[in-house]
Symmetry: C2
């Protein structure tokens, strides 16, 4: 389509298309990007675009001096929840042990209590400021997990609120039923019954109602065993849902291998994964989602084996893991910065991790994550001199505009 | 002054006065703070203030649900500089060694070249966005160091630009002549001559012209020896300037003891300081300024000995260390968060470190750093439920207003 049948066009920008190209960013200098409807209609030299647009009377946005990237994708969040955990954060720093905090009702169970007590309206209201901060940093797609309900009604309520976020605000939401997050207190003596419920009637109902795009399970020594995880994932596959797995955050239980065996879209965290797990992820095409803000908050010392993942060709993504306990983070740019500094990702890898590879981790790479003709016109405009600046500064937000589904988005 | 002779009053707020009190924050719930001229005129119960103000016709600001803290103080920055170091950041993450980068003209010398080449106008313009981000987070006083000139003219230009920032924008600036930061290339074979110049004519001229409030020296294996530092600090004391020292960032050369011996206001970094140094700081009343964003950026593994500093009664401050190489950080709140998570400060200690103790580190505690009658009416309003939230969230900025010298400040 070079006939100027465009709705609008941005000219004089440098594009980080994030497609394979001359450099880490698929850079195209002095370029233009034209939109028709919700899609990218044309990408090419700015001078050509200006000529076509002028002749055809297409509205022109001058993006001189700006970089344009794909809209950022935060592919792992728990951004819907009740309460917060700041009191516990303070208690811990004043010397209380994890055990004392747990005995006093703290930890994930405190978020479960608070979330169960909230109405959908209040859950939505409390997520609003967090969502707003992500959107201000150029995010156009976000994944949201349930997992603080641990009963059928609250899990469904969380997923419904997540869907509502995508209707109410200019952002695309992918929802994940995190059935196996923690064992609820009412099932403390009945683990197997809980896994049965999660994998049975609750899952079927959630799948049938279209509330979830995928499932997730926390396979870890302090959460659920590989065997329990396996039951849940098997049921999810039969229900036609995509799969994510919290794998290797604190120890290597073989969860990466398990995720790969089930054709998971992503295995997330991966501080502890061995050579077998890395090979399995590579063979399955499963994305490794790195969560540097949780690593930072938990004061972990062993980063994920980035060299091994890279060498094996495992696609790397980066996300905030926004949650009230282990990652109270609403800055995808900070996640990219920590991924570089603490994990050793290059800025190009980090940015690919919040664009092309994040799209792949969510199963939406066919229409998002890169700047290409035919893909959704979701992109962010940045006042920077080079893309690596997005991963370098701590506390800056150079985003000066966001186009979502072809239209400039107002601040939320 | 309870007669209502006030210019304006904020009511229905919770105050974190940061004075010794019932809790870590000197909290006063349901309070009011009245201003006359540039000073705090009255602090007391909101209901009393409302009655007085209504009777006297004093303008009332309703701060229901907000917390008010002293205006934040960033007591260690290198925020005025030319260029940036993002290219070097990317090269390093792509595998270049420090040595290769240095051979290619990178490192601090690249910032020196860029800074020497900049006009005052351009230095001011490039600092503007960084200053703006700090101000948006409730900062009302900032310290700014020279040290990227390494020649007399550029050092003076940097200090003049720092002074200009305090005139142009609604923020108080304390300036520091960082004479001993790095050895400039033109003195490579003449270390002693450089220390002579810095400690002699340059220092005298800078002191006489009132460009600097204090001096600073980088006493470190890769910078200047204790003996060189000693010469400079002695000259600075004779010139009547206050003293800061970059001490123990990478190794323990006894710089903390040296700082204490010279009655330094602060010793900064302190990842490496022994029991002797800690005792000396405590005895001298020197503030330990912790710089967690530099620690993070440099991937350091040994935090400052916070327990020992605390036990000895050394006042702890926290600052951004904003600079283009080792701390590209413009978020004082992020510095507080890292100070808690990586260094183990309590949120109360961290917040005191950017208020009361930061004021002390700059020698301005007589009129800033706490909410007390008679002190400067510099304070920040926050949409938070408890003060610890300022240290908990990563990437949030709950600042909803700043009063500077008694007046609500417009966003910069």
């Amino acid at each position: 389509m070079v006939d100027g049948n465009w709705d609008r066009v941005w000219i004089n920008a440098h594009l980080a298309t994030m497609t394979p190209g001359a450099d880490d960013y698929g850079s195209v200098p002095d370029a233009a990007i034209a939109v028709r409807g919700e899609s990218i209609a044309w990408i090419g030299p700015a001078v050509v675009a200006a000529r076509i647009a002028s002749a055809a009377g297409v509205p022109i946005h001058d993006a001189t001096g700006l970089w344009i990237t794909p809209g950022l994708i935060d592919c792992h969040t728990h951004i819907v929840y009740g309460g917060n955990r700041v009191a516990e954060f303070e208690q811990r720093l004043r010397g209380a042990s994890y055990e004392e905090i747990a005995r006093a009702g703290g930890g994930i169970q405190s978020t479960v209590r608070a979330t169960r007590a909230e109405s959908p309206e209040r859950l939505l209201a409390s997520a609003r400021s967090r969502i707003g901060r992500l959107l201000a940093e150029g995010v156009t797609t976000i994944e949201i997990k349930s997992g603080y309900g641990l009963d059928e009604a609250t899990e469904r309520r969380m997923l419904a609120v997540a869907r509502e976020i995508g209707r109410e605000w200019p952002v695309s939401v992918r929802t994940t039923y995190l059935g196996l997050h923690a064992l609820p207190v009412e099932y403390r003596e009945r683990r197997s019954a809980y896994v049965d419920a999660v994998s049975g009637a609750w899952l079927e109902g959630i799948a049938a109602s279209g509330l979830a795009d995928a499932v997730d399970a926390f396979c870890e020594s302090i959460a659920f065993t590989p065997a329990e995880t396996e039951r849940f994932l098997g049921a999810a596959r039969r229900a036609g849902l995509a799969i994510h797995v919290h794998a290797g955050q604190l120890s290597d239980l073989g969860a990466a291998e398990l995720a790969a065996r089930h054709g998971a879209l992503s295995a997330d965290h991966l501080e502890y994964v061995g050579a077998e797990g890395v090979r399995a992820l590579a063979a399955a095409g499963t994305v490794a989602v790195l969560l540097p803000c949780a690593y930072f908050t938990l004061r972990q010392r062993d980063p994920p084996p980035v060299d091994a993942l890279r060498a094996a060709g495992v696609p790397l993504a980066v996300a905030t893991d926004c949650n009230p306990g282990t990652s109270p983070c609403t800055s995808i740019l900070l996640a990219l910065a920590i991924a570089c500094t603490a994990f050793g990702l290059t800025p190009g890898e980090a940015l690919r991790g919040a664009t092309a590879n994040a799209a792949r981790a969510l199963g939406v790479a066919h229409d998002r994550g890169t700047l290409e003709v035919g893909k959704r016109a979701d992109f962010a405009l940045w006042a920077i001199d080079r893309p690596a600046e997005l991963c370098y500064a701590l506390g800056a937000n150079p985003c000066v505009g966001v186009v979502y589904r072809g239209r400039l988005r107002d601040p939320v």
